[in-house]
């Protein structure tokens, strides 16, 4: 009985640790950079979870940004935004934690990867390797 209780406590401690990685950033300051030029764009389609919206990659003042517009997906643990070589994220560039599961969001891209090598934008649950939604850049 005691060992069972210990296991429950043990498991609870670790499950509760993963909570902080859930998507919950403030995106109210995510403003599209002025005089930005659109380079690539695409539409999200659902994978394991309903996902919709548009993605744009723009450049402004020598920097690159990825913009999500009218975006929506399901909440989930450890959601990341990837530029990836395929829909299984065989190779990818991690743009960071997904800031929010809906609305407009802007992500800075340091050193713009070659979109021919990384033509997919993935909403990816890293902890469980689950694809929530995907957009193909064109």
């Amino acid at each position: 009985m005691k060992s069972t209780l210990l296991w429950v406590l043990f498991t609870f401690l670790f499950i509760s640790c993963s909570k902080e990685k859930e998507t919950a950033s403030d995106t109210s300051n995510d403003i599209i950079p002025a005089n930005s030029v659109e380079l690539y764009g695409g539409d999200f389609v659902s994978a394991a979870h309903p996902t919709s919206g548009k993605v744009r990659i723009v450049s402004a003042q020598g920097k690159w940004y990825l913009i999500l517009k009218n975006f929506s997906t399901d909440p989930g643990p450890d959601l990341k935004l990837y530029l990836a070589s395929n829909q299984a994220a065989a190779q990818f560039v991690n743009l960071g934690n997904l800031k929010s599961t809906n609305g407009q969001q802007v992500y800075a891209i340091s050193g713009m990867p070659d979109p021919k090598e990384f033509p997919y934008v993935l909403i990816w649950c890293q902890q469980f390797s689950v694809l929530f939604g995907v957009a193909r850049l064109s």
Partner: protein, 236 residues
């Protein structure tokens, strides 16, 4: 720490005299570090040595359950990770960090069952201190999503625990092995409480030889430094 333990324990085994009094006990420990923890249970048969019977050497099985969250595992084979892969010398050889790649295992969970040895010394009537180390055994565990990073490039993969464990000193070790430095205080005749420092090697293997340079490799190791507490129950 592992090589010192190994040398010491091999030396002590040669000194064991089977006619000395047998003292069985069971230890339970919980230890934790940064985003990782272990629960271990061990059964020991101790032989008391010396005139005052203060020195003990023991052997027994130990089960260690290791759990972590997004832990980095690094290139494991000594032939890649260290300057020398000769037994014992490997411990003192250079770390070839330019050859190390990283496997971030998202949800590592390993159950290892190993034969272990222990050396302990009775200090006064109530205190006892000692060291122990796993020697050989096997592991099972959860296959987990993992992120492999090499030269800044990242790949998604899967990894599972290496099934066979063997102490060979330093980075020559294979699989998942536990070792402890412990201090024990006897509360009652049979019950003691323990403070432990654990050094736990956990090893995961990818489905393919995902590391290509300087040579193909699929084994990655996490070396966990953990502090914990426990209890010990004497069976006689």
């Amino acid at each position: 720490m592992k090589h010192v333990l190994t040398i010491l324990l091999v030396f002590m085994i040669s000194k064991v005299q089977a006619q000395n009094q047998l003292r069985p006990s069971v230890d339970l420990s919980i230890a934790a570090g940064s985003s990782q923890a272990t629960i271990s249970i061990a059964g020991w048969h101790h032989w008391q040595l010396g005139k005052k019977k203060r020195l003990e050497i023991g052997i027994g099985p130990r089960i260690t359950s290791y759990i972590g969250n997004k832990k980095d595992f690094w290139t494991a084979p000594a032939s890649i990770a260290r300057g020398s892969s000769a037994p014992f010398l490997v411990v003192f050889s250079s770390q070839e960090t330019e050859n190390w790649d990283t496997l971030n295992v998202q949800r590592p969970l390993v159950f290892s069952m190993n034969a272990a040895v222990q050396v302990a010394h009775q200090i006064g009537k109530r205190f006892r201190a000692g060291i122990n180390i796993d020697l050989v055994g096997f592991s099972v565990g959860r296959t987990s999503a993992a992120v492999f990073t090499s030269d800044g490039r990242q790949e998604t993969t899967e990894a599972k625990p290496v099934p066979f464990n063997l102490l060979l000193t330093g980075d020559l070790d294979k699989g998942s092995l536990n070792s402890e430095l412990f201090f024990q205080y006897r509360l009652k005749e049979k019950w003691s409480i323990r403070a432990v420092y654990q050094f736990y090697f956990a090893e995961y293997k990818t489905n393919t030889r995902i590391q290509q340079l300087p040579e193909p490799n699929d084994r990655f190791r996490n070396k966990a430094n953990l502090l914990g507490i426990g209890v010990s129950y004497s069976l006689n």
